[in-house]
């Protein structure tokens, strides 16, 4: 019953945000919001950019790639020298080269894959100056690309798609900062720690126990970690740690924060192209898939753990292995599905210990390309890529030149969309094949049998989709996994972003074809079904063989332990 109301309140809160945050974000990117202009204008002055001057898609992409490269370099250097910097009360040593590379690539690409335990590896300087910074920057970059692609649809015969510097500055300043700051206060009020004072030692006179407890500036990092669909926590166990996620309410708030921007961006899209119905159609495709995934995954987690059943314990509270008492089974499953259907990757439970079908829900949520609703920005531009493919297929079926929002979808657009849709499955499957073929890859998993294979597949899927969640049993802090994972994340990010920007440029340059009776409708139930079909077929067909060797075999192995 509690779970029912959790969902009801979540749907209401997200529905209101969809409408109002969605239209607010449109106003921000159309330059109609100015209340922080006193902070915004000096930034443009320092950058030497004229906010009125726009860029072609090539210059936009160039700014984005170079800015990301500089961000990776700075993050890498901070981690490499953290032992010599201030704000290091726990005296953490500097991070090694392979792990620094992986972590820098991870936070700049909005992945937040973590091959380290936060409280035992990172200084406060690194957590704040390297990691929290990228938790603001990387979602802004993702949203900027999504907005650029939306402009491709909304503009006519335009050579430019916006100004990258202005888009990310406005996104960080007007959207991420105020929301994160407010949420940070709530997290701390509920019990998240926020201090620079280092560890605390306590003594319990009842049982004679003495504990030294790591602390840190956690609460405000937690807020942007969820809001920006980042997912990289201060502590090793992420949102399962009571200092990150202290109560049932913060658990709900986390789920809300990580879903709110990706869903609301569909309204922003509808508003900017002048047809809310088109935004609502994409929202419907997202919500239907997301709802099905929440349904079967929480049902699976409510069924209990096979090992506990065989050990003779009657279970009425679901699968409790790796879950926190204060959240319970179904809320943990909801958190997991929300986190993997966006590009967040935070975890309030041990995903490795989920039931086979619960784990299947998390893994396939990422494999569908993270479009339901996907990451901040990346969800919208990826589902727009799928929508272009759906329009193309629909056009083939009825024998007309396909159009989306009056823009003719021709060979060039379909090629770019196809590239954007196929890069991720290719890189994930090729790297998984390499990892299971060599010793360094097979040395990774903790669990035996199909679950061990799933750990490898999950790790490379998570990084290739810029998710960042993990089946924690995989020992990822090795040279092989650090180096390969870094490549996986960069390709999974930029090999989709750049085709998306090229698509934006190509579409913006086109004129609009007037709508006629023969135009294939792209704002009705038929189109929603077509988009869902494209998402499921691309994810399902490419990954089905791999999934059947992992969670499906595991589920079908009744009574067998590995």
């Amino acid at each position: 019953m509690g779970f029912f109301w959790t969902i009801v309140v979540l749907v209401i809160a997200l529905g209101i945000s969809w409408r109002y945050l969605g239209s607010y974000m449109a106003a921000v990117f159309e330059g109609r919001v100015h209340f922080l202009a006193w902070a915004e204008r000096p930034v443009y002055k320092a950058l030497g950019t004229d906010p009125e001057q726009e860029q072609t898609w090539k210059r936009y992409a160039g700014s984005l790639v170079i800015f990301s490269a500089v961000s990776i370099l700075i993050t890498y250097v901070i981690l490499r020298v953290q032992g010599h910097l201030f704000l290091n009360p726990q005296h953490q040593v500097s991070v090694g080269p392979a792990l620094s590379w992986n972590t820098a690539a991870s936070f700049v690409t909005n992945t937040n894959w973590q091959n380290y335990g936060g409280e035992s590896t990172m200084s406060y300087f690194s957590q704040m100056g390297a990691l929290t910074v990228q938790q603001f920057v990387s979602p802004a970059v993702g949203i900027a690309v999504a907005i650029a692609l939306v402009r491709g649809f909304s503009r006519r015969k335009s050579a430019t798609i916006g100004n990258f510097w202005v888009d990310i500055t406005r996104c960080m300043l007007y959207i991420l900062l105020p929301a994160a700051f407010l949420a940070g206060i709530i997290f701390v009020g509920q019990g998240a720690v926020q201090t620079l004072a280092g560890t605390v030692t306590v003594h319990d006179s009842l049982n004679g126990v003495t504990q030294t407890i790591p602390r840190g500036p956690v609460g405000f990092m937690e807020a942007i970690k969820q809001l920006g669909t980042n997912g990289g926590g201060f502590m090793n166990v992420n949102s399962a740690h009571p200092f990150e996620n202290p109560t049932g309410f913060t658990n709900w708030l986390s789920i809300f924060l990580l879903l709110v921007i990706p869903f609301a961006l569909t309204y922003t899209f509808g508003k900017m192209v002048g047809s809310i119905r088109h935004g609502a159609a994409l929202l419907a495709a997202m919500v239907i898939i997301f709802g099905v995934w929440v349904g079967f995954s929480s049902y699976a987690e409510h069924q209990g753990n096979p090992a506990v059943a065989v050990a003779g314990i009657h279970q009425t509270t679901g699968n409790t292995e790796g879950k926190e008492v204060r959240f319970g089974d179904t809320s943990s499953a909801l958190f997991g599905v929300s986190s993997t259907n966006t590009s967040t990757g935070s975890a309030d439970a041990s995903y490795d210990s989920f039931t086979p079908i619960g784990g299947f829900g998390l893994l396939t949520g990422m494999m569908l390309g993270e479009v339901t609703p996907g990451g901040t920005g990346s969800g919208l531009y990826t589902i727009l890529i799928y929508a272009v493919i759906a329009v193309f297929i629909g056009g083939l079926m009825i024998g007309r030149t396909p159009e989306y929002l009056g823009k003719k979808i021709q060979a060039k657009e379909v090629k770019l969309a196809g590239l954007g849709a196929l890069v991720m499955p290719m890189i994930v499957l090729i790297l998984t094949a390499i990892a299971v073929s060599i010793h360094a890859g097979r040395a990774g998993p903790l669990n035996a049998g199909p679950h061990g294979f799933t750990e490898i597949l999950y790790g490379l899927t998570s990084q290739g989709n810029n998710n960042g969640s993990a089946f924690g049993g995989l020992t990822g802090n090795t040279t092989f996994y650090n180096v390969v994972g870094g490549i996986d994340m960069l390709i999974g990010r930029f090999a989709i972003m750049i085709p998306a920007l090229a698509l934006a440029g190509s579409l913006a340059a086109k004129g609009v074809v007037p709508e006629s009776l023969g135009t294939f409708r792209t704002d009705n139930g038929m189109f929603v079904g077509l988009v869902i079909g494209v998402i499921i077929i691309i994810g399902g067909l490419t990954f089905f063989p791999a999934i059947s060797l992992g969670p499906i075999v595991e589920q079908l192995s009744h009574g067998k332990f590995f």
């Binding site: 201090t195 309410f249 709900w252 209990g304 204060r326 089946f471």
Partner: protein, 200 residues
């Protein structure tokens, strides 16, 4: 190209200063001003109410077995030596908060669960699922009310307090789900044991 690099470096420095320092430091200031107790770790007389401890005496209610049975630092000793109640040693993993990461069809998980069932039976407790599985953090401070009720025979025998008094003690310590529906009902083991100590 050069203009891109120059702008990238300048913006990187601006965000480093603003989001790397101003944001978390102002946040720390506000947090310390408004919520000093929470921001510093919810520390009470006998420890943090948010960080689990290892309770080994039958005179107290025990938490989840994150640091007991097969996950103890020295599981061969009788009773198994505790993992040290160190938040940086959890579920037998040294160095950080940690879950076991054992899959649902793991032979190791099955063997460990059987050991934990036997561990509780030796203490005279008929365990619930929470008491034979480990948490996500490795330092779960809470148990469900039912997890406390099943420990009444053990605590009653060791302390001589009658079971009905222990039942009402547990009932008085239950934190209901927030707003009635967010999360689950739970008992903070430390608070329950502090109340138990006052009863003696």
């Amino acid at each position: 190209m050069l203009a891109h690099v120059r702008r990238s470096v300048i913006l990187a420095v601006i965000v480093l200063v603003f989001f790397g320092f101003v944001y978390p430091l102002v946040g720390t200031g506000v947090a310390q001003l408004l919520f000093k107790h929470q921001a510093n770790g919810s520390i009470t007389a006998n420890g943090s109410t948010l960080i689990g401890q290892n309770w080994t005496s039958p005179k107290f209610f025990h938490g989840r077995p994150d640091d007991a049975g097969p996950y103890a630092a020295n599981p061969k000793a009788t009773p198994p030596a505790s993992g040290g109640d160190n938040p940086l040693v959890a579920n037998g993993v040294s160095g950080e908060s940690s879950a076991t990461s054992l899959g649902p069809r793991s032979k190791v998980l099955l063997a460990n669960t059987r050991q934990l069932v036997a561990y509780w039976h030796r203490l005279g407790v008929n365990p619930t699922p929470d008491l034979v599985t480990t948490s996500g953090s490795g330092l779960d401070p809470d148990i469900a009310p039912q997890d406390a009720y099943v420990q009444i025979p053990m605590v009653s025998q060791a302390t001589g307090i009658a079971p009905p008094r222990l039942r009402s003690l547990i009932a008085s310590q239950v934190h209901p789900a927030q707003l009635g529906f967010l999360g689950s009902d739970y008992v903070v083991v430390l608070q329950l044991n502090e109340a138990l100590a006052r009863l003696r």
